[in-house]
């Protein structure tokens, strides 16, 4: 079914424009036990669209809490929160991705990500939906929109989920 999808070939043509890191993710996370190879994704909502991040990168999900503004920072930097002995920066993901932004409200969630080198970052999202085991063949490389923050797309029935490469999504504003 995926094979026949008209978008597939278009996406293949854009393989060259693939963000770095996507290829690594492509190779890893192979489920050796089952016959079907799946990737576990944390799916969340942002401005009405579905996004996802590899579960391995997620440390925890917390409620929106009081934030301390960081001076002299770009507007996508919301500030810092105190989290069990750590002080963690929280990034407004919608702003990072160039989406329209509403005022933050209490129902939103912070996904705390961890990466290499003891890096910890919080990203603010509208709501967290679920952990979805995505069959590998439903995942396709994304067109290199934006700056490659959305590295892949997962097709789930009629729905498309944008898979974020957090290193690029969060690293970009740093450049």
């Amino acid at each position: 079914m995926n094979e026949s999808h008209p978008q597939r070939s278009k996406l293949d043509a854009n393989w060259e424009g693939l963000a770095r890191g996507a290829a690594d993710a492509w190779m890893s996370d192979v489920d050796e036990s089952g016959s079907e190879i799946c990737r576990e994704l944390l799916v969340f909502e942002l401005e009405g669209s579905a996004y996802a991040i590899a579960v391995e990168r997620v440390r925890e999900i917390i409620r929106m809490r009081e934030m301390t503004r960081l001076p002299r920072c770009p507007d996508w930097m919301l500030g810092v929160i105190a989290l069990r002995g750590e002080v963690v920066e929280v990034v407004d993901l919608a702003k990072c991705l160039g989406l329209a932004v509403r005022e933050p409200d209490r129902s939103r969630r912070i996904i705390v990500l961890h990466g290499d080198f003891d890096r910890v970052t919080g990203i603010l999202v509208d709501s967290v939906s679920e952990v979805y085991r995505a069959p590998e063949e439903s995942i396709m490389p994304a067109q290199s929109l934006d700056f490659g923050a959305v590295s892949e797309v997962c097709r789930r029935g009629e729905q498309f989920i944008s898979i974020l490469d957090p290193d690029i999504a969060l690293g970009f504003p740093n450049v």
Binding site: P71, V80, A82, V120, T121, P173
Partner: protein
């Protein structure tokens, strides 16, 4: 000598000399213990690598070699010949291992462990003043020598095991021979590739073959080989070391007129397999075409046999146990201390900090309960409990801090040694005096203080103290004197390094600074300002450059190193009389006292040790000078900066009464205006984690009891920026 020491008790002649000796021995043991511990660790790593299938890391061998070398040097410095000799034998063995002269499974290599244990025993004896068992050491040294000799001939054996024409072996260069041995040691298969080329095209053919070999291994040697080849052809033999087996090698080297022959494989069965790739070529003696593939199976086979031999040899050579229970004793630490990774202490400290925060939350809760009439009684009880908790926490906090604290004596001892070494090299007689060696500082600060302090003392030794003739001519005592004095003042330590040398020539500094374009010719600078130019990069007032110090780098690094720890350094000097360098450092970096201030809705923490004073300031008290806001502070203008402007805070109320927090950094002053002061708190400064690495003016954050984070102001950045802007205007 250690041997003479053993009968000192019966003599008791020169008690004072004995005491100095004992102190020196202690000094040696403290230092040597660390080296020994590192050697123990490295050696056990080496052991693991030797037992595992992997290759032995040459860096590790080098590292142990360096440790042994350092130990030898140290022993030499303290005149401890026995230990020095032993360390020297260690070097011999390790050098042999390094260059492949001694095998890792040889008896000599196995003696390293025992030797280390013996060293530990010798050091215990030194520390306890029992007199060291020089005889045991001597016997052991002889044993090592014997083992080194025994290890030497062993290596020819392994080449004998190769199924190869001895004339070929004789043709190898020393390096090629070493590579060959090395490859056998590492369990590689050795193959002999014979190939015949047309003379007209042999260079291309040979290089093609060689590069094919290099893809899977190493060409140990390329030799034109004898053999009945027609005149138009030439035959070459390539000695090849590789990890793949002969069958695979054959497939890889599928060239015409080429024979691949195995002369050694890791299971030790040499020469039993060989085959022709091209039937047109003469067939090898056995002719069994690749039926028994070589197997790479780690360290089994020949090498394990070798080690069994070595084991038995080592045990048969085993040295007599010096001094009864000392072997047991060596398992215990010599001094009764535990070495702990400073990071673990940091974690502990952070935990204590977190507890303090929780305590704050509890006492807040108690206050809330107490204000409600219905819960007032419970609230009061909770407040009492919280106070007790508070007391215990404070105790815990100071105990943990205590653990991090080490006396400055450690640094002073290092400085003594530097002095001993340098005065020999410089030919100057210099007395080094210390006071305040028991003053304690955070271990982390002490570690970072060593280099700057050594640099300052070297500077004094090298530049400041004159030669004996000069000193006598100036009416000074022949021997120079450097006094190092440490004293605690509140939350700071002040260390003074005072010499009675020639002092600093302020005019020479001015001239040099003008030459370097650091100041203009007509610039009027005070004496103090000129002296402090010595901390700028590229200013060295001595004309010649010596190996010890004085390339004009150094003092600027000293200053920046100290600034990193929140410390500062100042100079005072009287020409002809001497120079005093004063270092001021915070006692600890882990927990600070912070002043909490508020502007608008935002709160910040300011490290209290940078706060000179605070005062209320009415709007009409603020004056202007050169476009900047200033405050008349006891007749002196104080530069002001509004926190709300500095950090673009919304909701600041500049029209109302403000509070000025007077910040001091070195000689610079700045009044930071804030809306409110909210009291003093203990703060554990934590790094901010996230994509933004650093923010100018913010040094970190701290947690408050109500789950919020609060930013800590980087005082040196804020003050420095404000003063620079002012001066630029």
């Amino acid at each position: 000598m250690a041997a003479e020491k053993s009968n000192r008790k019966s003599q008791g002649s020169d008690a004072k000399a004995e005491k100095t000796k004992a102190k020196e021995n202690h000094e040696f043991v403290t230092e040597a213990e660390e080296i020994l511990e590192r050697m123990f660790e490295d050696l056990s790593d080496l052991q693991e690598q030797r037992n595992g299938a992997g290759e032995i890391n040459p860096d590790l061998v080098n590292q142990i070699f360096r440790s042994a070398h350092t130990l030898k040097g140290l022993a030499g410095m303290f005149g401890l010949d026995t230990i020095g000799h032993l360390a020297h034998r260690f070097e011999d063995i390790l050098d042999g291992l390094r260059l492949g002269r001694i095998s890792f499974n040889s008896p000599a290599a196995l003696l390293l462990d025992e030797g280390l244990a013996l060293l530990a025993i010798l050091m215990t004896q030194l520390e306890h003043g029992d007199g060291s068992d020089a005889q045991a050491a001597q016997a052991f040294i002889e044993q090592i020598d014997a083992a080194i000799d025994a290890s030497a001939p062993q290596r020819t054996d392994e080449l004998d095991a190769l199924d190869i024409d001895s004339s070929l072996l004789r043709a190898l260069t020393e390096y090629e021979e070493h590579r060959l041995r090395e490859s056998i040691h590492r369990g590689r298969n050795i193959g002999l590739v014979d190939s015949v080329f047309e003379i007209s095209a042999f260079e291309e053919g040979l290089s093609e073959l060689s590069s094919a070999v290099r893809e899977v291994g190493e060409v140990v040697s390329t030799l034109p080989s004898p053999g009945d080849a027609p005149e138009s052809e030439i035959r070459f033999s390539l000695l090849v070391a590789t990890d793949i087996d002969a069958g695979e090698l054959r497939e890889r080297l599928d060239y015409p007129d080429t024979i691949v022959q195995s002369v050694w494989n890791v299971s030790g069965a040499a020469g039993s397999t060989s085959a022709t790739v091209d039937d047109a070529m003469p067939v090898d003696p056995n002719g069994s075409a690749g039926e028994a593939p070589l197997v790479v199976d780690g360290s089994d086979g020949a090498s394990s046999e070798e080690s069994t031999d070595a084991d038995s040899l080592a045990s048969s050579l085993s040295w007599s146990n010096p001094g009864g229970a000392s072997e047991l004793e060596s398992l215990r630490s010599i001094s009764e201390t535990v070495r702990v990774d400073i990071r673990k202490l940091d974690e502990l400290m952070n935990l204590v900090g977190d507890l303090v925060i929780q305590r704050n939350a509890i006492s807040g809760l108690a206050t809330r309960l107490a204000t409600d009439s219905q819960t007032a009684k419970i609230g009061a009880e909770l407040a009492k409990t919280s106070k007790n908790l508070d007391r215990k926490l404070k105790e815990l906090q100071s105990r943990v801090l205590d653990v991090r604290m080490v006396p400055l004596r450690q640094i002073f001892e290092k400085l003594s040694r530097v002095n001993r070494r340098l005065r020999r090299d410089l030919g100057k007689e210099i007395e080094l005096e210390f006071s305040g060696a028991d003053t304690e500082l955070d271990k982390l600060i002490v570690e970072q203080l060593v280099d700057p302090l050594v640099h300052i003392v070297r500077n004094s030794l090298d530049h400041a103290i004159e030669s004996a003739e000069e000193r006598l001519a100036a009416g000074k005592p022949e021997a120079g004197r450097i006094r190092i004095n440490a004293v605690q003042r509140g939350n700071h330590i002040v260390i003074e390094v005072e010499d009675d040398g020639r002092g600093m020539d302020v005019e020479a500094i001015r001239v040099r600074a003008i030459e370097n374009g650091m100041i203009s010719e007509d610039e009027a600078l005070t004496r103090g300002e000129l002296l402090n130019l010595a901390f700028e990069a590229g200013l060295s007032t001595r004309d010649e450059v010596s190996s010890i110090s004085g390339r004009g780098v150094g003092m600027d690094i000293v200053r920046s190193n100290l600034a990193e720890m929140g410390g500062m350094v100042e100079l005072a000097s009287t020409e002809g009389r001497g120079t005093t360098v004063t270092i001021t450092l915070p006692i600890t970096l882990a927990i600070i006292q912070a002043l909490i201030v508020r502007t608008g809705t935002e709160r910040f923490a300011i490290p209290i040790n940078s706060v000179l004073e605070t005062m209320a300031v009415e709007p009409d008290e603020i004056g202007r000078s050169e476009g900047r806001e200033v405050l008349n502070l006891r007749g002196e203008p104080l530069l002001l900066r509004r926190l709300g402007e500095e950090f673009e805070i919304e909701g600041a109320s500049p029209e109302e009464r403000q509070f000025a927090v007077v910040l001091g950094m070195g000689e610079q002053r700045l009044g930071l205006l804030v809306d409110r002061l909210e009291g003093q708190r203990d703060a554990v400064i934590k790094p901010i984690k996230g994509p933004i690495q650093s923010i100018r003016g913010i040094s970190g954050a701290t947690e408050l009891g109500d789950h919020g984070a609060i930013l800590v102001i980087d005082v040196s950045a804020i003050v420095g920026d404000a003063v620079r802007r002012w001066e630029a205007a």
